[in-house]
């Protein structure tokens, strides 16, 4: 089942299926958010935004509105 990266459970892994069009798309692709990549949701900030993710051996945070464009399949 396809979901937004924002919506997966904390601590879970997900495989990226596609990156929807947005201003940040090119940047996200270059940071390594590529279809087929495994991403793990680590935690949310105290006010639930931004969200910390782990992929390709490093940790990165994204705002919800940007993570919403990343469509994944939860593990």
């Amino acid at each position: 089942m396809l979901k937004k990266l924002t919506d997966i459970k904390i601590g879970n892994n997900a495989k990226i299926v596609k990156i929807n069009s947005s201003e940040l798309r090119k940047t996200l692709l270059e940071m390594g958010f590529i279809p087929g990549t495994i991403v793990r949701k680590i935690r949310c900030a105290p006010l639930s935004d931004p969200i910390e993710f782990r992929l390709r051996g490093f940790n990165l945070s994204l705002r919800k509105k940007d993570a919403d464009h990343i469509i994944v399949e939860e593990d």
């Binding site: 590529i34 105290p46 490093f58 945070s61």
Partner: protein
């Protein structure tokens, strides 16, 4: 001919440390023309080549046209044609860092790759076969631990070796960079098309493959250049035949494939490379309920330590200036008879002295910033508050600079350098001066004591709150008017926590302090001298009288008006200046004089208005110097001075009127 070397790498990889090590701090900070992108140039002594120019380019993740930093960096490499590019990567984070490396290899420029932070890689249990990577990439690799200068000697040797053997700007493409044939074939065709056209700039002939890749990717800057070069006909044909459905995705994917092909055979990484310490700390420091209170406590601790540690140094500075004043008197005679003594007493001892006395505190705050950055905590602090700040048009990264403003505006402004988005940085620089700094406290204490005895604490607290509110409102206004573009994305890497390293923080604080003194120093001295001259020429009273009408709603006399002028030097000078101008009133009785005999007597509303004006109006000359240093623009510096004063005046008026209205109702 002077040889040029460029340093390129991701943000926070340790470029500055390597740059400092190679240049031995012989460096100069400026801006790339027509931008606020910082440019660091230095000279490095390479035996056999004399002094070479070395440029530290902005930290970037890629060579796209997505951000100004990237465009500026790639244009530098292509147009300035450095004889050597040193790419610095984080050995503990190769999969991420090699993305830039792969793009530099596409450019086919002479290169050395520096694997920095090998100590961290080792601690994580990462085993790297450097020789194999060297072979795969056809590029020399130097291992370094930049902040302790390990590997720097070897780096210098390799720079010398490479410079000696570089004859052409263009180099061979390593085998591993060849793409699958469905892309490689049209790419090669397009590249040879670019290579053979005659009229355009050298970048088409010397970087034809990179240009072709960028064109197929749809890079806006490159597409423009190709259109302008008028080779469009042939080019469009090739592109039509090439069926790449989603070029940005395809090329990003291919690059990560290349990276995998490089790393799989050469690097062994344990499953978990993130220490449990980092995870635990993050659980606490970004905790839903604890995160923000912990941050506030941290900042409070920082300020307490700063002023506690700073105090003995402040006394030392006072002593030094006192003795300096005495020595001058001994040499040149007393101030009444010797103009030299009078000048030096006025400008150096009183003027500069009142600014330098805060220097120890400023340096300690720089150290605190360096500790927060080095440990990795800065990014988590920004993470915690981004949601709130975004609502006001500010980026999470603006939080620490603004919080520092409570201590002193100067470190606040200088720490905005870590904010990556240009408009986010500028807005933060413009609103930070509204946050009440430590130097204004003596003014508040004096006036609150005179007009609100028993209520000093509440009055001063409300002033601090007002400063924060005005800063936030102005940030919102700026975001909606002058800087209508979006807040830059929150795309921040979380490094593992590090025990702050003494060398690294002392060096950072030292570089900041030097920078501040160099950029603000002359401005400070100049302004102090001018005001002293005005004073000597007896201009203060006439100037005060000219200023007085503007402050008529508050009913100020010329002394109170003129004292605001002295706030330009340093906010706390306002108190001293008042004392001097009112003549010989013994200490402590200035309070009574203000409360009973000055034009503000019996008018707490106007007094409060005066305090609000002091809170908000122009930054002190040292802060102005810092603003000029960070923005590299007289336009923004002048704008800061003007708009803060206007806002201060309006706010002071509103506050005074509101206060008298309510005190009228409640009979206060």
């Amino acid at each position: 001919m002077v040889l040029t070397v460029a340093l390129v790498g991701n943000p926070n990889v340790g470029k500055s440390a390597i740059f400092n090590a190679l240049t031995n701090l012989n460096q100069n900070v400026s801006n790339f023309p027509r931008t606020t992108v910082e440019r660091k140039d230095g000279s490095m002594d390479i035996s056999g080549f004399g002094f070479c120019k070395i440029s530290d380019l902005p930290g970037i993740y890629s060579l796209t046209a997505n951000s100004l930093d990237e465009i500026v960096s790639r244009d530098f490499i292509i147009d300035q044609k450095p004889e050597l590019v040193i790419n610095i990567v984080d050995a503990s984070n190769l999969e991420h860092h090699l993305y830039l490396t792969v793009q530099l290899l596409e450019l086919q420029v002479p290169m050395i790759i520096c694997f920095n932070k090998i100590d961290i890689a080792e601690k994580m249990g990462i085993i790297i076969d450097y020789d194999s990577i060297e072979e795969l990439l056809g590029t020399p690799i130097i291992k370094t631990i930049a902040y302790e200068r390990t590997g720097i000697k070897e780096l210098r040797k390799m720079i010398k070796t490479t410079l000696k053997s570089v004859t052409i700007h263009h180099r061979e493409l390593p085998e591993i960079m060849v793409l699958p044939s469905n892309i490689e074939e049209p790419l090669k065709e397009l590249a040879s098309c670019f290579k053979n056209q005659k009229e355009e700039s050298h970048r088409f002939s010397e970087h034809s493959r990179w240009m072709a890749i960028k064109y197929l990717e749809g890079d806006s800057d490159i597409v423009n250049r190709v259109e302008k070069a008028k080779i469009n006909g042939k080019v469009k044909n090739i592109v039509k035949e090439t069926l790449i459905p989603d070029p940005p995705l395809e090329f990003a994917k291919q690059r990560y494939n290349i990276i995998e092909n490089i790393l799989k055979p050469t690097v062994k990484k344990p499953e978990i490379t993130r220490t449990s310490v980092t995870e635990l700390l993050d659980d606490v420091l970004t905790h839903k309920w604890l995160g923000i209170p912990i941050f506030i406590t941290m900042m409070w601790l920082v300020f307490q330590t700063t002023f506690a540690l700073g105090e003995p140094f402040m006394l030392l500075v006072e002593l030094i200036f006192y003795y300096f004043g005495n020595i001058i008197e001994v040499i040149f005679g007393s101030p009444e008879i010797s103009p030299i003594t009078a000048f030096l007493h006025g400008t150096v001892v009183d003027g500069l002295g009142s600014i330098i006395i805060f220097l120890p505190n400023i340096i300690i705050l720089f150290l605190a910033i360096a500790v927060l950055e080095d440990s990795g905590y800065m990014t988590r602090a920004a993470f915690n508050v981004d949601r709130i700040l975004s609502a006001f048009g500010l980026h999470g990264q603006s939080f620490i600079p603004m919080a520092l403003g409570i201590g002193c505006t100067i470190p606040a402004i200088m720490s905005t350098r870590s904010i990556r988005g240009e408009s986010d940085r500028l807005i933060t620089i413009l609103v930070s001066p509204f946050i009440s700094c430590g130097a204004r406290l003596p003014v508040y204490v004096l006036f609150a004591g005179a007009f609100f005895p028993g209520n000093e604490g509440n009055i001063i607290f409300s002033l601090y709150m007002l400063g924060i509110i005005v800063a936030i409102i102005m940030a919102l206004i700026f975001r909606k008017t002058l800087f209508r573009d979006q807040i830059s994305p929150f795309l921040i890497e979380f490094p593992p926590y590090l025990r702050p390293r003494l060398n690294a923080i002392v060096l950072k604080a030292w570089v900041n302090a030097k920078l501040f003194l160099r950029k603000a120093g002359y401005l400070i001295f100049l302004s102090v001298s001018i005001i002293w001259i005005m004073n000597e020429l007896g201009l203060v009273e006439p100037i005060g009288k000219v200023m007085q009408p503007f402050f008529s709603p508050f009913g100020l006399d010329w002394q109170l008006s003129a004292s605001l002028l002295f706030g330009f030097i340093a906010k706390e000078v306002v108190v001293g200046a008042l004392g001097t101008m009112y003549g010989d009133i013994p200490e402590g009785n200035l309070t009574d004089y203000l409360a009973e005999s000055s034009p503000l007597a019996g008018n707490p509303a106007a007094a409060f208005g005066y305090m609000v004006f002091v809170l908000l109006y122009l930054p002190c000359v040292a802060a102005i110097g810092a603003i000029k240093g960070e923005t590299n623009s007289w336009k923004w510096t002048m704008f800061s001075i003007a708009y803060t004063t206007i806002v201060a005046y309006i706010a002071a008026l509103i506050v005074m009127l509101t206060f008298s209205f309510y005190s009228g109702i409640f009979g206060v």
